[in-house]
Symmetry: C2
Subunit: 366 residues, 2 copies
DNA sequence: GAAAAGGATGTATGCGCATACAGTGGGGTC
DNA sequence: GACCCCACTGTATGCGCATACATCCTTTTC
């Protein structure tokens, strides 16, 4: 706010020492005699000195910041200019209950949890966290805006073009979150989608002799969907498919609406399976929507299960059995790995698989 | 990752131009002839050049980063070292429903929403967001860690000692979130607690001729509690207290447990009011706990209302009438104001009061 | 009590970039 | 054809700090 922010030079002059001593007081206090140190600190307070991270970063060749990059967490969001509303009135809104977890509620998102974990681990390792959200901005901007400011970057897999990742990785370590390892040299942290889905499907089989089971896939190209589908196949293999002629698979693009449609046409056709397992919770909720609309009992007539552990699944009726991903741990792991690599850049690429757990709730009650 | 990150000098040499031209290509492309520009960009790609934000910040005297500082959002949190669990087993957990929104669920927190709003607005204004969470670290560290890295800082009121705020404010603009204006020169953004509570209490009176009303305060010293209490008094004044001999006030420290105790002893005493309005949702939920434990109908016998609009209130039975704070807007407003001040440092201190809204749900149904 | 060994502090330099200012050259003007 | 103007590019400098190295002063050693 003042005309000009004080620098080390100002502090040095005020305290009657050299700038080297000022710098030492701040960086390695033990190297300075106590009397001198106190004098310098007094000047720091008197002048309101705050060291410039830019200058420090330049000189020290490290910023002390790690970045977390996510794709747009809500593309629908208004990105209109923020215009403060100063009217003094208080609207009274009648908030009707609604199964559809739409506009009314804002449940905890994937993003928020990962972020929280990342922040915690960054702090524990002496870093500060920089948050970047991609919004279709041309990727070039992303590089300049984030990569140049941090010592390391955690990126949600699939949110940044490979070529750009390579570019960034030439300068700083990059950790991919939630993607599978490919033929790259990045560090990876992800959850065990395959084992999780396998365990989920096995739970469903254990809950009921589900002769007819429908598995609803998400977006087929995505790593998550592929891995979960493999887990599904693992479980099916354990229960020879020949004895389960009713097993079938469709895709609903990870969309609640799409899954609702799928389930609706299923009901119309009359071929209702004994269990429906979905590659994510949103689709499972869509299935619940459709079944309840047609008066088909869950879990009475059909068992339903999802994957992710989103909040909405805790509040649906019936509550949704799912596979809970340790999202916060994902964030922590990502920064943990980053921190490790910054400490030892030569270590071989790391791949961390975090365990998931099946949350059994009423939607698959025997 | 490479031995040494390329700099402008490397790019300049590779492209056969001067560093000034390289810098221009990146900062003001229009000032460079297209042929030259393309050549430089090709070199940038070829070398994997990423500009150093530290150097840029030093030279340009601005970082392009705004900070958001919060106090520890969960002091209980494990801050143990993160140890990845590599076991391949998938635990199957039976997740029982429970009214107490305790360990099981992680609902969207105040923090997450404000953060999200801040990120959005930062992006819209060409800034990147730096997140800092205070954890009892000595405040000196905070200054160095955050203030030196950003062009402006948004701080949750009360999370940083005044003296430190003054210190920081000598270097960069500071915006206080959610606190009332005091005799300071900071910019402020907050919600209209007073008008919100007044509207809430008036709604309750409108819903029922509540002769006996209990108002449960939070932590009496906090600005939020004080403002809400004033709002309560406003509403009471409109309904002359002499005609409402049953109006009384107690405090429960914003704690669910404390409020539960208060309500329990109320029931024991037999003096059950017609309506209970709490200074936050947590306490209202505690009241619901106690009343339901004693079989007292809500809203049949007693109306209950809270303040904040937390997620748990959307899932309680009955659903809780409350005052919803626009947390995301708070974050947006904070960065909006910061951005404005960075554009015109001389403008007088800004105070933004964001409107709240009463969410009417079943806990106050007539 | 003199010299060696530390301990404390100062001096000088470079980190990588933006930018004011100084060229440099090509096209237009009369 | 000489001159001016404008568009483009290069040169030189400083941003604020960390740190290697030099210097000076205080102990310690014998």
């Amino acid at each position: 706010m003042s005309a000009k922010a004080p620098t080390v030079y100002d502090v040095a002059e005020h305290a009657g020492v050299s700038i080297a001593t000022v710098s030492r007081v701040l960086r390695r206090p033990a190297d300075v005699r106590e009397a001198t140190r106190e004098r310098v600190l007094a000047s720091v307070r008197a002048l309101g000195y705050v060291p410039s991270a830019s200058a420090r970063g330049l000189a020290a060749r490290r910023t002390g910041v790690v970045g977390l990059f996510f794709p747009d967490f809500d593309a629908m969001r208004e990105t209109t200019s923020f215009v403060p509303d100063r009217s003094g009135t208080v609207p009274v809104v009648r908030d009707h209950a609604s199964d559809d977890d739409g506009a009314a509620g804002s449940d905890l998102l994937y993003f928020d949890e990962v972020l929280r974990g990342a922040e915690i681990e960054a702090w524990r390792n002496g870093f500060v966290l920089l948050v970047g959200v991609g919004r279709g901005a041309d990727s070039h901007t992303i590089v300049s805006d984030i990569a140049g400011r941090v010592d390391g970057l955690a990126v949600l897999a699939g949110s940044v073009p490979d070529e750009m990742l390579e570019h960034i990785a030439r300068r700083i370590p990059v950790v991919l979150i939630a993607g599978p390892r490919r033929d790259d040299d990045f560090d990876h942290v992800s959850v065990d989608n395959r084992a999780g889905m396998r365990a989920l499907v096995e739970h469903v089989f254990a809950a009921r002799e589900a002769d007819g089971m429908l598995y609803i896939r998400g977006s087929i190209e995505t790593p998550d969907d592929i891995e979960r589908y493999e887990g599904f196949q693992d479980a099916i293999a354990a229960h020879p498919i020949e004895t389960r002629p009713g097993v079938s698979v469709v895709s609903a693009e990870f969309s609640r609406d799409r899954a609702r449609d799928v389930a609706t046409s299923l009901v119309s056709s009359g071929h209702i399976p004994d269990a429906i397992v979905c590659a994510n919770d949103q689709m499972a909720l869509g299935v619940l929507d459709a079944l309840q609309a047609h008066g088909i009992a869950v879990p009475g007539r059909v068992l339903v299960a999802g994957f992710d552990g989103i909040d909405a699944g805790r509040h649906s009726v019936p509550r949704l059995t799912t596979v809970r991903q340790p999202m916060e741990d994902l964030g922590r792991a990502a920064v943990h790995v980053l921190s490790g690599r910054l400490g030892d850049p030569s270590q071989p690429p790391v791949t961390l698989r975090l365990p998931v757990s099946v949350l059994v709730r009423e939607s698959t009650a025997p």
